[in-house]
């Protein structure tokens, strides 16, 4: 009996790992064998934007391994992944290998795999900021150059060429500055945080925490909803039911802002421009910007998901980057000034 | 076996209370060195309770126990073992996926480092001494049930047991295996071990036991020397009434059937477990399948019911060819089947008596036509009364009923479907004498009402009493068909044993 159980479990683990690999290879958009077909000029569809074949003609493609979060994580990530795929295309002289996971250990494994495969460049957007030392050292030993994008990692600077990141702290500062500029009599803030410990959460929380500490703003509640819309709704509902008054909702992404607004709607609390409660979100999904345009929300901040071109330029130029940390330009939109053109240009997703 | 012989185990004035029931009241039991002592009684008489008190599963609520004249307290099974009291249960409680040696030493190895070789050597030595046909390195599950049981006994012997309790050890063994077990018991007896033997098989009591202690309703009826207590009287003491009922009940008159009356007919029917065989049964006939365990008798009737995967053969019901591949097919054609292993294939333990009774009928009525609660209750009440099922209520989980009453519930389940043909595989195994008689009577009554019945029992006596025709199987083949004057113990034995075939009808 016990033996049977053990073998069952083993079979299960095997099935799971099979399913896992099945999913990642299916879910990712890796084109490992595109290199071989490239010689015959049969290009796969999505690279039509630039002139064809110069890279193929020059022979060797630059092998780039990208360790990223899955595009399904958020609209931001989706745009980010699409950007990577477009820039590091075969037409531009790259052979792109990708691995997408939300889990740090799976990401570490993938990075390890890319090192073994012998890529020329390793591009990483880490799920967590810790645990990367060993892998990056191995990459260095193998002569692989590492670029971080979107998210920082807690390692010695010498282990990577450069980090192209959004300055999340600046993003938070911009948003909080905007809030201060509204000149409210008092600030009673419901602060809904993202997954604790993520870069975005830390950056977006920091500026607000300063205001709480200085007493300029009053913290009604500060809870994490781990990017979960439904959880955000519950948090706001709980505050409404407790009878405490509040006039600002600062949600660290659009989805959670949407959840919070759903709670407000059910309780009959007005929000947006001219409403009782100011609603702030982040990420600039197109649908969220449309809420701004409708004046249902007040503010949406963005960190740019487009880092690929900067990294590509660095690789192609061959020069050492001027600084270890390269900051992407950030934006913030106000409901009173946003235009349809802004949505079309900067909005993510559909 | 003299009276003055040294008494090994003495239990005096044992009492055991359960909420609302006095399970044992003032029971005495004495076991002497080197004797086999049968503990007899109907189900619920208190045999298992007494055993459980002795082995520390239950605490006694009064009375004392002494071993070798020393008063002892038994608070747990471990205590019992330390005092040299070992039990081998009806169901094998060893681990079938470990080796024989591992099973013999499991749980009593004193260090973490297990020296397999040493243990295997020691196990082989014990097995050899006791003449048990097993190797220490064999996986236990690959041994026959009898050998597994003997390994359990060997384990007990190696633990220096003085008192060995065998609880229904023979119920799943065939005659040959029983004999080997008895040889082992005699051997142990010679070494001075006292054996308490609990069984339903009266013949076996007379074959091996020196003394008999009879319990009834939690009270001691008496202790007797086997040779001084005739079998009929033993039964009388167990059920506590005179034997008019028993004696009035022997033999079935020969009935004659026309071929036009054939209800069920199979030719070269075979399944994954049964070799091809021919079989037919008339309306209102009671026939039996006999043979040793593993002779294919159960497998054959399972094939009739479609319980195993059917491989081939043709089946006719009332002359019409039909297909029976699954139990539901058989049920739709009016066939019912009471399985051999009640626990595994019969009862749905956690469900109530009511739900167990209506189950088969409900399946036949179909998924979308449930029997209403009130209907089900009246069905249950009716059969609880008709079959005299002893249960607290119709909502009691069947698992908490005694074996005999569980069997009656399963019988009720099939009777409720009003079958034309009922297959009963060992309906009387492990149940008390009174219920056995009731079931036998019921079978004959069903036949009178025109129901065909196939009856299988390990007790040939019982089959001779109920069946008008016996099909004898050996090594998965039908080797004979007995009827009329041939229906006697000797002829059946001869046919089972082979040699002079009794095929002439």
């Amino acid at each position: 009996m016990r033996k049977r159980l053990v073998s069952m479990i083993m079979a299960g683990t095997l099935a799971m790992s099979l399913a896992l690999t099945g999913c990642t290879s299916g879910g990712g958009t890796t084109t490992p064998d595109a290199g071989s077909t490239g010689d015959t000029g049969a290009q796969t569809g999505d690279t039509g934007e630039t002139t064809e074949a110069p890279a193929a003609a020059s022979g060797e493609l630059i092998k780039v391994g990208v360790v990223n979060n899955p595009p399904s994580e958020s609209g931001y990530r989706e745009a980010n992944v699409k950007d990577m795929e477009a820039v590091f295309s075969e037409a531009n002289g790259y052979e792109l290998k990708t691995s997408y996971s939300l889990k740090n250990d799976e990401q570490l494994q993938a990075a390890q795999g890319f090192i073994t495969e012998g890529v020329d460049y390793l591009l990483i957007s880490a799920a967590e900021t810790t645990g990367w030392d060993e892998v990056l050292k191995k990459a260095q030993e193998a002569g692989i150059k590492v670029y971080l994008f979107d998210r920082m990692i807690d390692v010695d600077e010498s282990l990577y060429e450069a980090a192209v990141v959004s300055d999340m702290a600046a993003e938070g500062d911009t948003a909080v500055q905007w809030l201060l500029d509204q000149n409210l009599d008092e600030y009673n803030v419901i602060h809904i945080q993202g997954a604790m410990g993520s870069d975005a959460q830390i950056g977006r929380t920091g500026a607000l925490d300063e205001q709480f500490a200085s007493g300029k703003m009053n913290k009604v509640v500060q809870q994490t909803a781990t990017w979960d819309e439904a959880e955000a709704k519950k948090i706001v509902e709980s505050v409404i039911n407790s009878g405490e008054s509040f006039n600002v909702i600062y949600a660290e992404n659009d989805g959670m802002a949407k959840g919070a607004v759903a709670a407000l709607d059910e309780a009959g609390i007005t929000h947006g421009v001219g409403g009782d409660v100011i609603v702030m979100g982040f990420d600039c999904n197109k649908w969220a910007l449309r809420e701004l345009l409708d004046q249902k929300w007040n503010y949406d901040g963005q960190c740019s998901p487009f880092q690929a071109q900067i990294i590509s330029d660095l690789i192609k130029s061959g020069d050492a980057p001027s600084s270890k940390k390269i900051i992407n330009e950030e934006k913030g939109f106000d409901a009173t000034t946003i235009t349809q053109a802004d949505i079309d240009t900067y909005g993510l997703g559909e | 076996m003299q009276e003055q012989e040294h008494s090994l185990l003495e239990m005096r004035h044992i009492n055991k209370l359960f909420p609302g029931v006095k399970a044992l009241s003032n029971v005495d039991f004495t076991l002497r060195k080197g004797e086999v002592h049968a503990l007899m009684g109907e189900n619920g008489a208190g045999k298992s309770t007494l055993i459980k008190v002795l082995t520390g599963v239950y605490q006694n609520d009064g009375g004392e126990i002494s071993v070798d004249g020393v008063k002892i307290n038994i608070r747990s099974p471990q205590d019992a073992q330390n005092n040299g009291i070992s039990t081998v249960y009806q169901e094998i409680t060893l681990c079938p996926n470990l080796t024989v040696a591992e099973n013999m030493f499991i749980g009593r190895v004193d260090s973490f480092l297990v020296r397999h070789k040493d243990y295997e050597k020691r196990a082989d030595k014990i097995l050899g001494e006791l003449g048990i046909p097993a190797r220490s390195t064999q996986i236990l599950g690959s041994c026959s049930l009898a050998v597994q049981q003997m390994v359990a006994i060997a384990r007990a012997v190696d633990m220096k047991c003085k008192v060995l309790i065998l609880d229904e050890p023979t119920s799943s063994l065939d005659d040959k295996e029983v004999n080997v077990l008895f040889d082992l018991m005699r051997d142990l007896k010679g070494r001075g071990v006292g054996i308490i033997f609990v069984t339903h098989f009266l013949e076996q009591v007379y074959e091996i036991c020196d003394r008999i202690t009879v319990l009834r309703n939690g009270e001691l009826v008496g202790e007797y020397l086997t040779e001084e207590l005739p079998q009929v009287q033993l039964v009388a003491k167990m059920i506590g009434k005179d034997l008019d009922e028993l004696s009035s009940f022997d033999g079935v008159e020969e009935k004659h059937f026309d071929d036009s009356d054939i209800f069920y007919e199979a030719s070269s029917l075979s399944s994954s477990d049964a070799l091809p065989f021919d079989f037919a049964i008339h309306k209102g006939e009671v026939n039996g399948f006999t043979g040793l365990l593993g002779s294919g008798r159960s497998e054959s009737v399972r094939a009739i019911f479609g319980a195993d995967k059917i491989n081939g053969g043709t089946v006719k019901i009332k002359g019409e060819p039909v297909k029976i591949n699954k139990p539901i097919d058989a049920m739709k054609h009016g066939i019912g089947y009471l399985a051999e292993d009640r626990k595994r294939d019969g009862i749905i333990a956690d469900l109530s008596v009511r739900e167990n009774i209506i189950l088969a009928l409900q399946v036949m009525k179909g998924f979308f036509r449930p029997i209403s609660r009130s209907e089900a209750e009246s069905f249950a009440d009716e059969y609880i009364k008709v079959l005299n099922i002893k249960t607290a209520s119709r909502e009691t989980p069947i698992g908490s009923l005694s074996g005999g009453n569980q069997q009656k519930v399963i019988l009720a389940r099939w009777l409720l479907t009003h079958p034309d043909y009922l297959i009963l595989d060992e309906p009387t195994r492990g149940i008390d004498v009174g219920t056995k008689l009731e079931i036998q009577k019921l079978v004959l009554k069903l036949a009178e009402d025109g129901v065909s019945v196939t009856f299988i029992s390990s007790e040939i006596e019982e089959m001779l009493r109920t069946c008008s025709r016996l099909i004898v199987m050996r090594d998965r083949h039908v080797v004979g068909e007995l009827r009329g004057a041939d229906l006697n113990q000797t002829q059946v034995m001869k046919t089972i044993a082979g040699g002079e075939a009794a095929n002439e009808k």
Binding site: P71, E78, E237, E266 | -
Partner: protein, 358 residues
Amino acid sequence: MKNKITNIFKGGFGQLTIPIVAICMLVVFNLFRDPSFFSVGITHNNDGNIVLAGNLISIINAASELAVLAMGMTLVTAACAGQDISVGAAAAIAGSAFVKVLKSGPEITGFSVILAFVIACCVAMIFGAFNGTLVSVFNIQPMIATLILFTCGRSIAYWINGGASVPVDSPIIKAIGSFIPGIPVPTPVLIVILVAIIFKLVFHFTSLELFTQSVGINGNASRLNGINATFIRLLTFIILGVCVAVAGIIGVSRLGLINHETLLLDVEMDAILAVAIGGNNLGGGKFKISGSIIGAYVIHMLTVTLYAMKVPSTDVKAYKAIVIVILVVIGSPVIKSKFTKFMTQMKNRKQAVSMKGT
């Protein structure tokens, strides 16, 4: 009064004792902490409807998806002696399918919502049948069989819509996810009641309950009584599929948004817990759907209580775990038998005393 209480402990509610006691304890605790905790108010929502509001409404409203899933999970547990851990992922798939159908039309109408609902149900039933086939035909343990969909379900959900979070905006969706104009009770609560009634009717008009229990308790015997155990097990998974679709659609409609990464995240564990708290044996066999529903409300009452106490949501899971461990241990057979033993001893002693008295 005293008698009644002891009756409850002696199993006056039978299987439901534990969940009912748990919910009572939480209610008492909350009333003690904040007497106004359960006050229900009436407000106008932003669409101008009169609606009920308050913690009690929040609890039964937020527990809706879980309650629906727990009902289906109870059946699977009973028949298969195991649980489906892919319900969260499957709900994301069903929700994505629902949104996909809505988005493929020019506008969202009553008809397109019904069509989307039917298609989402079909999709979830197909995935349920996939799980069910692995379990019933190939005899794979349910947790392991459903591990496959658990692992890749949310990726499949992503492929359906492509985008990360796709909004659906329509008064009909809003009516499903929050309030129907003119009805002050949240629609998800009504859906739970409707699903519960449907289960009740199914049990009344079919033999599903008896057959499921039989198969779960003794598959062999059930087969020999003509029950098609394979089919029954498969059926329970398909029924769970419908529950999954309903839960997924409630989740999507609540926010007018599908986010396959976060929709009903970790709900499978809560659903299994609801079944366990409801006093159902996770090893299969006898079951009570009502127990699981109460179990779902217990879990959410606990969450809302903790939120109201401003326990950091990162710690909520730990507190939940503590309470659940206590509940499950109290409900374990070991403690139960100890308790009955204790009660009979007390009773005997009392009798002895009263006998002495006379």
